[in-house]
C-alpha cells in the first residue's frame, strides 16, 4: 500500500510541478470550450435575431382583395418585380417567397428557396396561412432542454473525458518506456500490480480534473448557448441524486478509459505510436455516445452491462429525467469490475519482458 502511495505521489509531482503540463491539461480545455461555446452562442444568437427582426419579403401574384390585409400583416409585400425577376431574386436570396394565387379553381403555388433560412421561415408561415392552421407548440421549455441535453451531453462528456485521459496516460506509460525510465522502476522490488494500480489511480485523478475543467467550461457557457436557442436550461432542473449518479458513473468511466489507454501505451513503443493506436478506441467511445442517443430511456437492462456504453446511457437517462436505479448500479459495478480486469492485464504487461523492452 505504501509503495502504491509513493507511485501516486510521484505521478502527481510529475504533473503538478510541471507548469506547462497542468496548464495545457487543466486550464486550457475548460478555457477553450468556454470561449468556443460563447462564440458559437453569439453567432447563433445574432442569426436568430436577424431572422426575428426583419419580416420576410414576398411577391404575391393575383392576391384576392379579401386576403390582402392578412398577408400584409405577416409579409413585407414587394410589388416591384415581374414573375421572371421575382424568381431570380428568390434564387439570389433577395426575396424570400413567391405566392401565386390561381385565377380559376386551381391550387395556390408557393415558391421558396430551401437554401435560405429566412425563405424557409416564410414558407412555413405561408403554409400555415393558406391552410388556415393555428400552430401551437405544447412542449414546455424544460422538457425541450432536457431532451437536448440528454442527447448531446453523453457524447460530449465522453469525448472530454477521453481527451483528459489522453493528456496524461500515454506520456506517463509509453513516455516512460520510450525514455527507459520504466526499466529503472522495474528493477526495484516494487510489485508490478502496485505500479499498475498506482499509475492508474493517479492518472485517473488527473484525467478527472481535466474532464472537470472541460465540463466547467461547458456548464459556464451553457446559459449563453442555451439562451441563443430559446433558453430553458438551468441547473435546478436536476436534484442532488442526479448529480451524484452522474459523478459516480463518470468516475468509473474514467477508470476504464485511463486503464485502456494505459494498456495501449504499455504496448506501444513510443508516445507517438500510442496516440496513433488509441484512435480506433476513441472512435468506439464516440460511437457509444452516438448510440446512446438512439437507445433512449427504453433501453433494455442488458445494455447496461456494456462498459462505457452504459455510462453514456445512464447520463442520458438522468439528464432526460428518467432515472433508472438498477441501470446505475449495474453500470458502476460493471465499470469498476472491468477496470479491475484491465489493471490485471496491465500488471501482466509490466511483467512481460517482450512488451516492456520491445524497442
Amino acid at each position: 500500500m505504501k509503495t502504491v502511495l509513493t507511485i501516486i505521489k510521484k505521478e502527481f509531482a510529475r504533473f503538478f510541478k510541471d507548469t506547462r503540463l497542468w496548464i495545457t491539461a487543466l486550464i486550457l480545455p475548460g478555457l477553450l470550450i468556454f470561449a468556443l461555446y460563447n462564440i458559437m452562442g453569439s453567432i447563433i444568437e445574432s442569426e436568430v435575431e436577424k431572422g426575428a427582426d426583419e419580416t420576410c419579403t414576398a411577391y404575391i401574384v393575383n392576391m384576392p382583395d379579401s386576403q390582402s390585409a392578412a398577408y400584409s400583416a405577416i409579409f413585407d409585400i414587394k410589388d416591384d418585380y415581374t414573375n421572371q425577376t421575382a424568381e431570380d431574386a428568390l434564387k439570389d436570396g433577395k426575396l424570400d417567397l413567391i405566392i401565386v394565387f390561381p385565377t380559376d379553381a386551381g391550387k395556390i403555388q408557393i415558391k421558396y428557396n430551401s437554401a435560405e433560412t429566412k425563405s424557409q421561415t416564410a414558407y412555413a408561415l405561408a403554409v400555415a396561412m393558406v391552410a388556415n392552421y393555428d400552430i401551437v407548440d405544447l412542449a414546455d421549455e424544460q422538457s425541450v432542454a432536457r431532451t437536448i441535453l440528454s442527447t448531446v451531453v453523453p457524447m460530449v462528456l465522453l469525448m472530454l473525458l477521453f481527451s483528459g485521459c489522453m493528456a496524461v496516460a500515454p506520456e506517463s506509460i509509453a513516455g516512460e518506456k520510450e525514455r527507459g525510465t520504466i526499466a529503472t522502476l522495474l528493477v526495484t522490488p516494487v510489485k508490478r500490480s502496485h505500479i499498475a494500480v498506482g499509475k492508474i489511480a493517479a492518472l485517473s485523478a488527473i484525467a478527472l480534473l481535466s474532464g472537470l475543467s472541460s465540463a466547467l467550461g461547458m456548464l459556464l457557457s451553457l446559459p449563453k448557448l442555451a439562451g441563443s436557442v430559446g433558453g430553458g436550461i438551468s441547473f435546478a432542473m436536476y436534484g442532488f441524486g442526479d448529480y451524484a449518479a452522474v459523478l459516480g458513473v463518470i468516475l468509473s468511466t474514467v477508470l476504464i478509459l485511463v486503464a485502456v489507454i494505459s494498456i495501449v501505451s504499455a504496448y506501444a513503443k513510443s508516445v507517438k505510436e500510442a496516440s496513433g493506436l488509441v484512435v480506433p478506441i476513441m472512435i468506439l467511445v464516440m460511437l457509444c455516445g452516438v448510440f446512446s442517443m438512439f437507445a433512449g430511456t427504453v433501453a433494455s437492462i442488458g445494455l447496461y452491462f456494456i462498459p462505457v456504453f452504459n455510462s453514456a446511457l445512464v447520463i442520458s437517462n438522468v439528464l432526460s429525467g428518467a432515472v433508472n436505479t438498477a441501470g446505475i448500479a449495474i453500470t458502476v459495478c460493471m465499470n469498476v469490475a472491468f477496470a479491475a480486469v484491465l489493471v490485471f492485464v496491465l500488471t501482466q504487461m509490466f511483467k512481460s519482458e517482450r512488451i516492456m523492452f520491445n524497442k
Partner: protein, 257 residues
C-alpha cells in the same frame, strides 16, 4: 570462500526480426546465452569479459530479473531469480546505461523516491543520501533537474540511486562506458571501496584494462558460452589478458576474419 551467486545452466534465446534473420543466415532464433554456469564468491569483483554481442548484458539482465531465462536458474544470496524475483531485486543493486532517470525530477527527489520503493527507513535513507551525495559531488546539484545535469553527473547519480538499498550484491553492466577519465576513476575507486566493505560485485566489460585493474576472477564469454573461468592471476600467468583473450577467441571461432 562463501558462494553468494550460483548460476546454473542459464539459457536465453531471442526471436529475430525478419531483417536480422537474413543477416544471421536464416535462423529464426539467436541463442544469446548458452548453458552458462559459474559461481561468484562473497567479497570479490567478478568480471565477465567478452566482445560485443557475446551475451554479457543478457546474462546480467537475467541476474537483475529484468528478463527471464528460458531455462536454468541463478541464486543470489539465497533468492532464486526464477522463483523469487522480488527477493532478488531487494538484495541487489543494478546499474546499466539502459536504466534512465526521469529528466523532470531533481537528484534529491529521485533518491527519496527510490529509497521509499526499496522500503529504506527514512532516517537511514537521509543519512545514506548525505554521505553518497557528498562523496560523488552531487550535493551541489541536488536541486537541479536531471535534464540539466552533465552526462558524468547523471552517471554518478544513477550509480548512487542504484545503491539506495545498500545492497551486498552489485551488478554493473559496462560500468565506465561513456565516462570521462575522472568520473571513471571515481566509479572504479568506489567499486574497490565496496569490495573492501565485503560486498560482491559482478561487472561486464570488453575493456581489458578494467578487468586487470579491478577483477579477482574472470569469466570469458564468447557467443553466449563461457569459454574460460579462472582467477585473474591464473589467466594472465603466461601472457597478458589481451593475448590470452585472442587465443581463446581463435580456439572458439577459428581464425578471425
Amino acid at each position: 570462500m562463501e558462494a553468494i551467486l550460483q548460476v546454473k545452466n542459464l539459457n536465453k534465446t531471442f526471436k529475430l526480426s525478419r531483417k536480422q534473420r537474413k543477416l544471421e543466415g536464416g535462423a529464426a532464433y539467436k541463442r544469446a546465452v548458452d548453458d552458462l554456469s559459474f559461481t561468484a564468491y562473497k567479497g570479490e569483483i567478478f568480471g565477465l569479459l567478452g566482445p560485443n554481442g557475446a551475451g554479457k548484458t543478457t546474462t546480467l539482465r537475467m541476474l537483475a530479473t529484468l528478463i527471464k531465462p528460458d531455462s536454468g536458474d541463478a541464486v543470489i544470496d539465497g533468492a532464486s531469480i526464477v522463483a523469487d524475483p522480488y527477493g532478488v531485486r531487494s538484495k541487489i543493486g543494478f546499474l546499466t546505461s539502459e536504466l534512465k532517470l526521469e529528466d523532470f525530477f531533481t537528484p534529491n527527489y529521485l533518491y527519496d523516491f527510490f529509497s521509499k520503493l526499496y522500503n529504506v527507513p527514512e532516517e537511514t535513507a537521509t543519512a545514506r543520501k548525505n554521505k553518497m551525495f557528498s562523496k560523488f559531488g552531487i550535493d551541489k546539484f541536488a536541486e537541479v533537474k536531471v535534464a540539466n545535469l552533465s552526462t558524468g553527473m547523471k552517471q554518478k547519480l544513477s550509480l548512487v540511486i542504484s545503491l539506495v538499498n545498500d545492497p551486498d550484491f552489485i551488478i554493473f553492466d559496462e560500468p565506465t562506458n561513456g565516462l570521462d577519465v575522472l568520473t571513471a576513476k571515481t566509479v572504479t575507486d568506489y567499486l574497490v571501496e565496496m569490495r573492501g566493505e565485503g560486498k560482491t560485485i559482478i561487472l561486464s566489460t570488453h575493456i581489458f584494462s578494467l578487468i586487470e585493474k579491478l577483477c579477482d576472477r574472470v569469466g570469458v564469454i564468447i557467443d553466449g558460452r563461457l569459454v574460460a573461468l579462472d582467477t585473474l592471476a591464473n589467466l594472465t600467468a603466461e601472457k597478458n589478458l589481451e593475448d590470452k583473450f585472442f587465443d581463446l577467441y581463435k580456439s572458439v571461432k577459428g581464425e578471425m576474419q
